[in-house]
Structure formats: C-alpha cells, structure tokens
Amino acid sequence: MDMFLYLDNDTFLHRLDPRTKMLVMLASFVVALMFYSLPTLLGLTLVIVLYGMAGKTLGNLKRIRFILLMIALFSVVLWSLTYGGPTKILGPISTEGILYGIVIGMKFDIMIISGMIFLSSTKVEEISLGLVKLRLPYRGAFAFATAIRMVPMIVATSFTIAQAQKSRGLDLDSGNLLERAKKYVPLLIPTIISVIRGTNVFAMALESKGFGYSEDRTNYLQISIKKGDYAILFLALIVITVSTYFKFVVI
C-alpha cells in the first residue's frame, strides 16, 4: 500500500529546487486567499493545473478526489444554508449563499491541489533538505522526515494487530460505522505501545551512527537554485505583484 503522493517522474517540475516549489505553493495560497471573485479563482485554478501538468502530477487528483468533493459539497451546503442573502431560492437557501459556498470551496480546493502538486513532485528527503537549507535546524527536519516515513509503518502495524485479533475471534466487520469504529479503538493501544517500545533502540542506533556528532553535516543529496528556479520564482513574483495591485489598487 503506497500512502505517499510522490510520483517518480523526470520532469521540469521534479527537477526544480524544493525551496522554489515551496515558495510557489505559498504564492498560490496567498493569491487564493486574496480574491473572492469566481472568474479570478477559475483563472488561478487554470494556472495551477497547467503547473501540475508540467510535472505530470495530476494523476494524483484521483486519489484525493473524495476529499476535494467532500470539501466542495460541504462548503456549498453549509454556506447556502447559513449565509443568507436577499435572493431566496428555497427556505434559507439563497443564490448569494450558493455562490459564496462555491467560492470558499474553490479557495480550499485550489490550496489543496497546490499542496498535492508540491507533494507529488517532491521527495520527503528533498522537503527535509529544503527545510534545512531554509535554516530549519537539522534535528527538526530529521524528526519531520522520520515521522512521515513512520506513518505507513504504523498503519501496517495496526493492520497486523487487527489481523492477529481477528484470528483470535474479534469481529471487526459487523455493525454500523460507529460500532465498527468503536471496535478499532482498543487496537490503538497495542499499536502505540509497539511503536513507542522501539524508542530506546532507535535512539541508540542513531547515536551509534553519529547522529548529532557535528552541526556541519554533509548530505548525499544535493540541491541548488538553478536558472529554471529563478525563472519560476520570477513568474511567481509577477503573479503576486499583479494580484496585489488588482486587490489593493484597482478593486
């Protein structure tokens, strides 16, 4: 089971420095947050989709489609029921509420798609090294990267424990969703214990390999800002400048 979004392609986007991709992602968040106009957000979506296409990362949209759909759906339902507005359609539902729900749902979906493109084109090691290059202390970046790698292992451990309990007669499949969820709660404890139990050995293994020996670490993986990165950063800067101009001067 592959839980990660990373797609191993050799594209222009994959070759960009992780810091560039982080800044592009942040720029997309800023622009998405600035505007409440549907055409502007549609334009931003188009730009982000083209950016994602450059890295052949849009295949992952299938994997997060449930979350995107739920966010869009909940947003429209929630805001159309509560937003109010003069043009009533049925009961509390108004045209303004539906439009506002679509806009808010779109803002969130844009940010999530942008995050997905970043994760689909950047390895965990690159994110970690990028953070170190951005002056995050190495130990923090190490904990972050290790935690991401631990997630599939923890999920696999919980499956093993569930299988072991099933073989002893625990019925995890009957009942409604809530009842089934309740049956999984006790499985949380052996999962946590089996993960935490390894702490001392893990720490010893790290120290035996010289973890924390020197602050000036060298890395096998090397990253650097190249011409392509400067071009993308320049484009991102233009987008931010134009958006700010339209937001605060024109509108």
């Binding site: 979350i67 997905m116 904990a143």
Partner: protein, 265 residues
C-alpha cells in the same frame, strides 16, 4: 519554556517527536474525508492523543502533535490553515503538560500522570479542556484574522471536537500507557537532565495562572465579542463572515498571551 528548545539536544527526545508525530498522523489520516468544516477540520478521534502525548513526553509530545497535524494535512488538506494548525496543535499538548506541573492541581510529590487518584483525573479533565480551548482559540483567531472562517463557529467546534475525544478516549489511554512508558524510562522528566526540567517556582505558578486566564479570556471574550458582533456559535456561526476587528484583538491577546505565559514557565 526552555525545555521546548533544549530537548532537541537529546536523541531520545528527537525520536519521541518523530514517533509521536507518526502516531498522531497515522490516526488522523483515515478520517480526512469526514469533513466538519470544509478544508479546516474533520471528525478527529485522534484528538485523544495530544494531551496524552504532552503529559507523557512533555515538549517532545507537543512538537509531535504539531508535526503530526502538519503531516496529516499533507494527506489532502495542506493550506494556509496548516500554519495555524501547527501552532494550535502544539498548544493542544503543550498547555496540558505545563498546567499539570505548574497550576497546583496535583501534589508536588505525585506529579507523574498515573491517574490513580480522583484528584489527578479531575486535573486531567481540566488541563485537557484548557489544551483543547487553547488550540481552538489559536486556530480560530488565525482564520478570523485572515477573514476565512468566523471565530465563533470555528473556535467552538474545534474546542468541542478536541475536548470530547481527549477526555473520553484520553483517560483510558493514559491509564494503560503510563505504566509502560514509566517502565521504559520514557517519561520526559526521566529523559531530560535535571537542569532542563523547569523547577516549580512562584514564577512558573504565576505563568500557569496567567496561561489559564488568557486561554479563558481569549476564548470566552472572543466568543462574546463575536456573538455581540452578529456571529453565532457552532454551525449557526456560518451565517456571518469573518474579519471582526474586536474579535481579532481579544482572541489575539489570548493567543499571543498564551505563548508569552509559556515563556514564564
């Protein structure tokens, strides 16, 4: 608060940050589709973990909750709210272990969180609610500041969504985990050198009282200002838009004040 930074010198604490974050993220991810507020929060049984992790692993649990929440966001909801989620979830674990030690609700000679007495269980419930409220306050303030989600709706939903699992699931979880963690010498007070574990003094007690008051003033004051400004609690709160100046100021004082009160401890 110095242990929050000095703990990074200790390899075992770094490992505990990674493991805590991994566990929290692994329990968060399966529920990402159970949306409560689109793009912001979802049904979170994993909220049982930060308070327990904070009480057992101290600063490592707090960093673990923050990083774990960020990793959870990586699996489908990474957005601007993730930055406030990082700090909010840090506070969700940080506030409980700080108040547990410094608020004076548990005896000085029985400070380890074994939940063997009713006094300790009451203290657990109080710190869990205050931790949940600190998380709701910070995230609610951040998204009100950005004009994205009304404070009254978001802060009240997050506080409830965090408090319920952290009390109902957190108490049995802590009772089961504590003896094992203690046996393996993994309690944060057993790992960190004595000079890195802040002593309980009049200053830390004042800091804990200030932290409690600031969480309550920020949350209750912010909610009162929001309701006064036309917002409503829980889902009814979505009828209004975010960006109320008074709410931003009051909740902001609470949010930033909690962090400053942390420095005193």
């Amino acid at each position: 608060m110095k242990e929050v930074f000095s703990m990074w010198k200790d390899t075992k604490m770094v490992v505990l940050v990674a493991l805590s974050a991994g566990i929290y993220a692994a329990v968060l991810i399966p529920f990402k589709g159970f949306v409560l507020i689109p793009g912001i929060t979802e049904f979170r049984p994993a909220s049982a973990l930060p308070v327990v992790l904070g009480l057992l692993f101290g600063p490592a649990g707090a960093w673990g909750a923050a990083i774990g929440n960020l990793i959870g966001d990586f699996f489908g909801s990474l957005g601007i709210g993730s930055s406030f989620g990082f700090v909010g979830n840090f506070l969700f674990a940080y506030v409980p272990y700080k108040l547990w030690r410094n608020l004076g609700m548990v005896n000085k000679d029985d400070m380890e969180p074994n939940l063997k007495s009713s006094k300790q269980i009451i203290a657990y419930v109080v710190v869990a609610i205050l931790g949940s409220a600190a998380c709701g306050l910070f995230i609610g303030w951040g998204l009100e500041l950005l004009g994205m989600v009304p404070f009254a709706a978001l802060a009240s939903i997050i506080t409830l969504n965090n408090s319920i699992p952290s009390i109902i699931l957190g108490i049995p979880l802590l009772i089961v985990l504590y003896p094992r963690i203690k046996k393996w010498d993994l309690l944060w007070t057993d790992i960190l050198p004595e000079e890195d574990v802040p002593a309980i003094t009049a200053k830390t007690r004042t800091g804990a009282i200030a932290m409690t008051l600031l969480v309550l003033v920020g949350l209750i004051g912010g909610l009162a200002a929001a309701v006064g400004g036309g917002q409503a609690l829980l889902y009814s709160g979505f009828a209004s838009t975010a960006g109320n100046q008074m709410v931003v100021i009051i909740a902001g004082i609470g949010s930033i004040g909690v962090l400053i009160a942390g420095w005193m401890q």
